[in-house]
């Protein structure tokens, strides 16, 4: 979230799309209801199902799964055509006026630069026209046809209300009603908050779903505003934090990345990762990348990282491509992987095409599972009848199952959706011999290091040189690790503004990331966490809930990254001249010398209003991007592509390019895609309020609350197939089947799409073969092994099934 949970109460309009907050994030959703009761806000829900969120909404519009880009592009078209957006904001704070490379084009579903063989784009033309000064050219009169906003107008012109109805199945008048609600918040003193979750991410076009909404928020002038923003409601309690610390194939902490094998030296790597400003007078904050990177290397390797060895550059692995989980299970299935660790992760349940996942794990030499609970993954080798029909004796994988503590038995910080790092404390001892994940990792590492010390082996340097300065090498404490994440001064750090004074003295915890250096005199494992554990102590443990402004900003409660800032881009809550767009929502003000207010300014503190510096300080041109340059895999503007399994089998916009042309799909998985002839129904998976993913099938109270697996279908489909409420049904895809009770409901209606009827089948995910709940089938037996072109997040929300009475 660029904003935070409580801030939702400041919105005038709350659009829930690609999520079902009332059920999946129930307590957070109370702030949407608070907006409704206190702020007279309206709630809109756009979803294939009439969800519990829809039941408290002011307006509900149905939509076919997988067609959100069409709907939202239709909204953009409406806003631009009616002029119902914040024009001043759009001109000053977005790249609307910047001129695009003359070679950039879009024809028949493809952008310029497509290589059909590689299913990839050469993105050279997805760029600005640069002047001689190296800065992007702009035309503030917006007359030049190459202005971003003019290209955008042309791009979205195809998304008429009629086209929206054809593709999405949303009746035209319902779509226009939603447009009217959204357009009202283009006013300076009105904001929309969009709440979304996995209903937007789990598509082959997931990232562009979100981008299309973010573009609407830019046009409405809602970024940086209280009650606005882009608000991802993340699924798990700390996937935000684990992403912040860079636990993704090509990442490092703090949104830095690992060098690729093309970056053969530290210099070429820093050159590639440190952006040059694209406009005059911009902050371009990523220009500090070398400081963040070198400080991270000092956290990795301690005194062993020196200027002479390029801060241990050779000790980092260099990638040739991403090894995301789909790529890796493909390799595993091909027999190219020997070992795998699952730390609090249940891939048999969580990854697509469960039968492929089990077959892949069966080819491993060893699997290590660390978890507080029994997971389906830990017993993948066991025959559970129809639910997991395997032959144990033929599975040669050695499986270690290691018991860990759960939240109640350990301390540390987790990051909620609002980027708050909330420290928690231990309240009980762990059962049996369970220990923390940290102790397990340290235990394995200590043994391994001893083996390398004794026997030598393949390139032991990075193992031997890894900094491990913990009081107990076998059990590093959360406090020690948290202090490393914040970082400390390794030498006295002079204050450049006040000669004779210091930002930090040698050995002190750093006050924030502004103190970081690129000469090895600071260490910090995650620059965006700098400030979380300072000389003043653990800021994440703070529990002052005072809200002096009444806007729900509680700066004394825990600590938010970055710099305890609660609303990102908050400079944009003011006009270029420094006056707020809406005085009731004043977050920061210019006091004649610097910016100050109820939030930490997201701007150069002493940069006066009216200067050239624009508010999106992480961008090289300082502007929000309606045109994404080369940052997306499938194009700088969002375009609708059908799910890889489409119930209409065509793309009404461009029948020759049906699916995302930049999405990766492996050959064997492409062969396992079903067609609408055999699997005519659009399926989507989702969560129930009584359960949490695959954990709570181990929890008695939740198992009692929702004991038995079911699927939801509409009355139309039920009638067609002769299925009655409560019947057992078999739901199958090209990849496998599940059996469950049928819930026949009015909540899912038949949609008219591209001249045909489309029925949806709703599939809650919470059952499996392990747990205290009644055994069930893993829903991911059905789902396709294909992901978003940018993130490789699997397409769990849109695929094809058949359904029949079991």
């Amino acid at each position: 979230m660029t904003n935070h949970w409580v801030d939702i109460k400041n919105a005038n309009l709350i659009v829930v799309m690609g999520g079902n907050a009332a059920e999946a994030h129930p307590v957070g959703f109370r702030w949407a209801l608070e907006a409704k009761t206190r702020n007279k806000a309206k709630i809109l829900v756009i979803d294939p199902r009439f969800t519990r969120t829809a039941s408290v909404a002011d307006y509900y519009a149905p939509i076919r799964t997988g067609t959100d880009i069409t709907f939202l592009s239709g909204v953009i078209r409406y806003l631009l055509e009616k002029g119902a957006y914040n024009k001043e904001y759009t001109l000053a704070y977005t790249n609307a006026a910047l001129l695009v490379n003359p070679d950039f084009a879009f024809n028949d579903g493809l952008f310029s630069g497509y290589d059909a063989e590689k299913r990839k784009y050469d993105k050279a033309s997805w760029s600005y026209q640069l002047g001689e000064d190296g800065f992007a050219k702009r035309d503030d009169t917006l007359v030049d046809p190459r202005c971003v906003i003019n290209l955008l107008k042309t791009h979205v012109s195809r998304y008429t209300p009629e086209m929206v109805e054809t593709i999405c199945g949303t009746p035209k008048d319902a779509f226009l009603k939603v447009c009217e609600y959204i357009a009202e918040t283009g006013a300076h003193d009105k904001t929309t908050s969009f709440l979304y979750a996995l209903g937007w991410t789990q598509h082959s076009i997931g990232s562009q779903n979100i981008r299309t909404m973010a573009m609407i928020q830019l046009l409405l002038g809602n970024m940086g505003m209280a009650g606005g923003g882009v608000n991802a409601l993340r699924g798990h309690s700390n996937i935000q934090g684990l992403t912040d610390v860079g636990l993704l194939s090509q990442s490092l902490p703090g949104y830095l990345r690992l060098p690729s094998e093309k970056e053969t030296t530290l210099e070429t790597f820093l050159e590639a990762t440190t952006p040059k400003a694209l406009a005059d007078g911009q902050m371009n904050y990523w220009q500090n990348t070398p400081k963040f990177h070198v400080s991270l290397m000092k956290a990795f390797w301690g005194d062993n990282a020196t200027a002479e060895n390029s801060w241990g550059f050779d000790w980092l692995p260099k990638w040739d491509k991403g090894y995301d989980v789909l790529q890796y299970f493909e390799m595993m299935n091909d027999g190219k992987v020997n070992g795998y660790f699952c730390q609090g992760f249940n891939p048999v349940a969580s990854f697509p095409n469960k039968n492929k996942v089990v077959a892949s794990l069966s080819k491993l030499k060893f699997l290590v599972v660390m978890d507080p609970l029994v997971t389906d993954t830990s017993t993948f080798w066991k025959n559970h009848g129809e639910h997991n029909d395997v032959d144990s004796a033929s599975i040669q994988t050695e499986v270690f199952r290691l018991p860990t503590t759960c939240f109640a038995e350990e301390e540390g910080a987790i990051v909620n959706s609002g980027r708050w790092l909330q420290w928690h404390w231990k309240g009980a001892d762990a059962p049996g011999e369970a220990v923390t994940d940290v102790e397990i990792v340290a235990g394995i590492f200590s043994k391994l290091k001893a083996l390398y010390a004794k026997e030598g082996g393949a390139y032991p340097e990075p193992i031997m040189k890894l900094s491990w300065a913990y009081r107990d090498a076998h059990d590093p404490k959360a406090e020690e690790l948290a202090k490393e994440l914040n970082g400390k001064a390794l030498a006295d750090i002079p204050d450049p503004k006040k000669p004779g004074e210091f930002l930090a003295k040698k050995g002190e915890q750093l006050p924030g990331f502004a103190a970081l250096q690129d000469d090895g005199s600071t260490m910090s494992a995650c620059w965006i966490f700098a400030g979380s554990w300072t000389q003043a102590g653990n800021q994440m443990g703070r529990r002052d809930n005072a809200d002096p402004s009444g806007l729900g900003n509680t700066p004394g409660w825990s600590w938010a990254w970055p710099a305890n800032r609660r609303i990102l881009y908050n400079r944009a809550s003011n006009k270029p001249d420094g006056t707020p767009w809406d005085a009731k929502r004043t977050l920061i003000k210019w006091n004649g010398e610097k910016w100050a207010g109820i939030d930490v300014p997201d701007f150069k503190a002493d940069e006066p209003p009216g200067s050239k510096m624009a508010p999106f300080i992480m961008q090289a041109e300082g502007l929000g991007r309606l045109f994404a340059l080369d940052k997306m895999a499938e194009g700088p503007f969002p375009e609708h592509y059908e799910p890889f399994e489409s119930p209409i089998g065509t793309n009404p916009l461009h029948p020759k390019v049906v699916h995302n042309p930049a999405a990766r799909i492996f050959k064997k998985d492409a062969e396992q895609l079903g067609s609408k002839a055999d699997f005519p129904y659009a399926a989507t998976t989702y969560r129930l309020t009584e359960h949490f993913h695959y954990w709570t099938k181990n929890v008695l109270l939740n198992a009692i609350a929702q004991p038995e697996q079911f699927v939801e279908i509409g009355e139309g489909l039920a009638k067609e197939k002769g299925i009655a409420h409560g019947d057992m049904v078999k739901v199958s895809s090209k990849r496998g089947y599940i059996k469950a009770r049928a819930v026949v409901t009015k909540r899912i209606r038949t949609l008219k799409v591209n001249g045909q009827d489309v029925h949806h089948v709703g599939i809650p995910i919470h059952w499996g073969y392990e747990g205290v709940a009644k055994k069930g089938f893993l829903a991911n037996t059905l789902t396709p092994f294909v992901g978003d072109a940018n993130t490789q997040t699997p397409e769990f929300k849109s695929f094809l099934v058949n359904i029949e009475k079991a």
Binding site: F345, W381, S392, D437, L448, L481, C526, R543, T554
Partner: protein, 195 residues
Amino acid sequence: MQVSRRQFFKLCGGGMAGTTVAALGFTPGVALADTRSYKLLRASETRNTCPYCSVGCGILMYSLGDGAKNAKSEIFHIEGDADHPVNRGALCPKGAGLVDFIHSPNRLKYPEVREAGSNEFKRISWDEAYSRIARHIKADRDANFVQKNADGVTVNRWLTTGFLAASASSNETGWLTQKFVRSLGMLAVDNQARV
């Protein structure tokens, strides 16, 4: 004087028995059931965060056991943290069942191994678990570590073993995991955010 249930216990925690507090006139607005209040009075209260979804609701955990060396402390009650700015004491049906998560009959208690081809787990010691896993890692890494790619560029990567990091473990755990996996040269690293 209006005293909330939590303030009431704080007052009580100041050394006075509940009845004495009431006698002094600090009676809470809502009467409390005796049995419940006495159990809570002996409890320690610990602040934590719901480990399920990303709302990050604050919780208060009540445990018995005074932290003495050989006494195991155990949680018997969890409720929403009334001071928390987001949940203000509320929990959803997931968070409301957290005690049953902690005490799930499916909690793992001992390190175990399932040998190749076997049909069951057997209990092992931590030392055996660490030793055997370290041996597996070393054998695979030594056999398959790639120091240079086909062009002779130093790449120092190890692709035949991968690591999935958790979705609810702490940042601190995540950082140690990050150090561990990269020092070994692993690239097949992901967390739950991927899916």
